[in-house]
Symmetry: C2
Subunit: 422 residues, 2 copies
C-alpha cells in the first residue's frame, strides 16, 4: 500500500497543476470571515484596512496659498504686463498659521507665504516673481492672474465624506500620513492571522542543539516562522513532534484549534506522507483539499482545511518547503490577513538565462538564480544548483524564474522575469 502511494506520486496520477491547486485553496478560504480590531495610527503600519474610509472633513478647511507672493483680487490684475503694469497697495500681511485679519479691498493686496490662508476679498495669489517692489507700501504687477490661481480652495484636495482608502488596503507610511492629515487617529484593521508551526521527523533536533550522529537540526521551523512574520502573522512554535500518529495528531489538533493556519513540515519518507494525510482527514471536514502538485521543487505538499483552519503539510527539504510557502502558504496568509492573495505587482526584474535549463513537461519548474549585473545589458540569471536537500543553496538565490507546464526547458540567452527573494 505504501508502494502504491509512492507510485501514484511518481506516476503523476494524483498531481494537481499549480494554478488549480491554488484556486482550490483560495476558493476554500474565500468565505472565512476575518476578525477586526481598532488600532491607533502609529501602530497601524503594514496592517490591512477592514472597512472603506471616508474623509471626516474638507481639506483644506480654508483656501490656502500655494506660492509666496501677494493675495489679490484677480480682476485688479487683468491686462497687466511688463509694458503696461498695474499697481497695488500692500494693505496687510497674512501671518503663518493665523486667520488673516481684515479684507483685501479693490486695488490692494496682502503679503502671503506658501500655506497662508487666503484673506477675505482675495481670490488669487500673485507670485513675487511677477511683481516689482515700488516702495514698502506699493508693488508693480507685470502679469495678470486668473481667479483661483496659485491657491488651493476649500475641499479641493479632499472633500468631506469622499473615499480615502478602501477595505483591503495595506497601510504604508504614506497612507498613515494621509490619515494623520485628516485627523483619523484610529483605524479598523483586520486581526493578524495566527499561525502554528510544527516540525516532524524522528531525525530532527531543535536547531539550538548539537545533533547526535544520524540526526539533523531543524531548519524549517525558524525559516517558516520568519516568512510568516514578514507577512504580519503571529507565530506560535509547537516544536518538534515525533512521527508517532498519536503524538502528532494530538499536537496538530491543538495547533488547529488555536490558529488560523497550521504548518507542519518534514517526513520525506512515504510513511510520514501517509501519516500527514491520515491525520488531516481525522481533524474533520472538509479535510484534504490537495495532495501533491505539479511543481518542482515542492511536489509532495498536502493542503487541508479543518473547519476554518488551513493546514499545510510541507516537504521536509528546506528549499521545497520555502517554494511551497511562496506558492501556497503566502497567498493563503495574505487572504486570511484581509489583503489580496497575490501582490498586485510582484517585484521582479528581467534577466537573461545564463545557460540551457531542462524541465519536464507537465509540471511548473521553479529555477532559483543568482543575478549578476552586466554592462549594457540585462542582468545575467545564473541558476543555483544543488542536490535535493542541500541547505547551502538556501540563501544563495537572489530570486527565481518559472518554466511553464508545457515547456521542456529554456535556452541560454532567453529573457526571463526573475521574481526577487528580498
Amino acid at each position: 500500500m505504501a508502494s502504491d502511494g509512492l507510485k501514484d506520486m511518481l506516476g503523476r496520477v494524483r498531481l494537481t497543476p499549480v494554478k488549480k491547486a491554488k484556486s482550490i485553496l483560495l476558493g476554500a478560504l474565500a468565505n472565512i470571515s476575518i476578525q477586526t480590531e481598532r488600532c491607533s495610527l502609529p501602530a497601524a503600519l503594514d496592517r490591512i484596512v477592514s472597512s472603506n474610509l471616508f474623509s471626516p472633513e474638507d481639506l483644506p478647511a480654508h483656501p490656502r496659498s500655494t506660492m509666496d507672493g501677494f493675495a489679490v483680487r484677480a480682476a485688479d490684475t487683468f491686462g497687466a504686463s511688463s509694458s503696461m503694469p498695474c499697481y497695488l497697495e500692500i494693505d496687510g500681511e497674512v501671518a503663518m498659521g493665523q486667520m488673516p485679519e481684515g479684507e483685501v479691498r479693490q486695488g490692494k493686496c496682502f503679503h502671503i507665504a506658501t500655506g497662508g490662508l487666503l484673506p477675505a476679498g482675495s481670490d488669487a495669489v500673485m507670485m513675487f516673481e511677477h511683481t516689482i517692489p515700488v516702495d514698502g507700501k506699493m508693488i508693480e504687477v507685470v502679469k495678470s492672474v486668473g481667479v483661483g490661481i496659485n491657491l488651493i480652495s476649500r475641499g479641493e484636495d479632499i472633500e468631506k465624506n469622499s473615499p480615502v482608502l478602501s477595505k483591503g488596503h495595506l497601510l504604508r507610511p504614506q497612507d498613515l500620513g494621509l490619515l494623520a492629515g485628516l485627523g483619523i487617529a484610529e483605524v479598523e484593521v483586520y486581526k493578524r492571522p495566527k499561525v502554528g508551526i510544527l516540525s516532524t521527523g524522528d531525525e530532527i533536533v531543535p536547531w539550538s542543539q548539537s545533533p547526535p550522529p544520524g540526526k539533523i537540526r531543524d531548519i524549517n521551523g525558524i525559516t517558516l516562522a520568519a516568512l510568516c512574520e514578514r507577512l504580519g502573522a503571529e507565530v506560535t512554535d509547537y516544536g518538534i513532534v515525533s512521527d508517532s500518529e498519536e503524538t502528532f495528531f494530538a499536537t496538530l489538533k491543538r495547533a488547529t484549534n488555536e490558529n488560523n493556519v497550521v504548518l507542519f513540515s518534514g517526513g520525506s519518507s512515504v510513511g510520514m506522507r501517509d501519516l500527514g494525510e491520515r491525520v488531516i482527514e481525522k481533524l474533520g471536514n472538509p479535510g484534504i483539499l490537495v495532495h501533491g502538485v505539479a511543481l518542482k521543487p515542492g511536489k509532495p505538499i498536502i493542503i487541508g482545511l479543518s473547519h476554518e483552519t488551513a493546514i499545510f503539510g510541507l516537504p521536509g527539504h528546506p528549499v521545497s518547503a520555502m517554494v511551497c510557502f511562496e506558492f501556497f502558504v503566502g497567498p493563503a496568509l495574505r487572504l486570511l490577513a484581509g489583503s489580496q492573495p497575490d501582490q498586485l505587482f510582484t517585484p521582479s526584474i528581467r534577466a537573461i538565462v545564463a545557460r540551457n535549463i531542462n524541465s519536464a513537461a507537465g509540471r511548473l519548474d521553479l529555477v532559483r538564480v543568482q543575478l549578476q549585473e552586466q554592462e549594457n545589458n540585462l542582468p545575467l540569471a545564473i541558476p543555483v544548483l544543488g542536490k535535493s536537500g542541500s541547505i547551502s543553496t538556501l540563501s544563495r538565490a537572489h530570486g527565481y524564474f518559472l518554466i511553464d507546464e508545457p515547456s521542456q526547458g529554456l535556452n541560454k540567452d532567453t529573457q526571463v522575469e526573475v521574481y526577487l527573494l528580498l
Copy 2:
C-alpha cells in the same frame, strides 16, 4: 537678502544634480564606524551581518542518502540491466535518525530512506524504481549505479570553515534557516541606526489634535517615522518645534547628540529655509553638504553633517519630503545600518506611459503613477497629478518613474521602468 536667497534657488545657481548630491552625502558617511551587537538567531530577522561568517562544521557530518532505495556497493551493480539483472541480498535496514549498524558486504544491500546515513561498506544508493523485489530477502537490480550516486557526501553541502554569509548581508528568512542548520545560534549584527525626527513650523499642530483655523496637522512626522522603521531604524520623536531660532537650535542640537540621523521637515517659507541652513552650520563641522538639488519634487532639501550625525532638512510638503527620503535619507540610513546604500535590484516593473509628460531639462523629474493592468500588454502607468502640497495624492501612487536631467519630457506609449512604492 531673503530675496537673494530665493533668487538663487529659483535661478538654479546653487542646485546640485541628484547623483552628485547623493555621492557627496554617501562619501561623507562612508568612514563613519558603525557599532555592532550580538543577536540571537530568531531576533536577527532583517538585521545586517557585521562580519563574514564561516561554517563551524561539515554538512552533512556523515554521507546521507538523497533517495528512497538500497545502500549498495556500486561495483556489485556494474553491468546490471533489464535483460541482465543482478541480485542483492537485503542484509539490514538504516533506521531514520540512527547511526546504521553493521556493514554492507559484497553482494548485499541495506534498505535506506531519503536522509538516512550511509552504512559502512556502501558507496551508492540504488533507487527503489530500479529494483524488483524477489522476496523479502532479495532484490533484482535492473540498472547499474556509479560510486557516489544518490547520496550527499560528508561536507559536500557546506565544508567546515567555508564562507557562509558575508559582512553586509541582510538576514532573510532563508538565511536564518541556513544558520540554524549550521548551529550558529547567535550572530554579530550592526546596531540599528537611531533617527530623531522633528517637525517645524508655527502652522503645524500634532496630528492627534484638531487644528484651529490657519493651522494644519503634522503629516511628515508619522510618515517619516514609518519610513525609517521599515528600514529597521529606531525612531525618537522630538515633536513640533517653533520657528524661533533659539528653540529650534536647542532641540536640533539635542537630537543630533542623541542620534545617527536627524530629520527635520517643514518651513517652506524662505525665512525657515535660511534658519535651517544657519542652524546646521552652527552645529559644527563639516556643516552643510548640499543645499538644493535638481529634483522635482524635492528641490529645497538641505543635507548636513555634524560630527558623525547626518542632518536632513526636508521640504514641508509631504510628497516632497517622501521623495527626498527615497533619494537621500533611505540610502544614508541603509549605509549607516551596515547595508548597501542602494538595494542591489530595486523592485520595479515595466509599464507604458498613459500620456505625454513634460519635464524641465536640467533636473531629474519623479513622476508618481498608478498602475493599471492591461490585457496582452504591459500595465499602464497613469500619472498621479495634484497641486503642490496636495495630500490626497500621497497614497494614490503605486510607484514612480524618472525623467532624466537632459530630457524635456516623455511621450505617451513610451516604455518606462516603474519603481514600486510597496
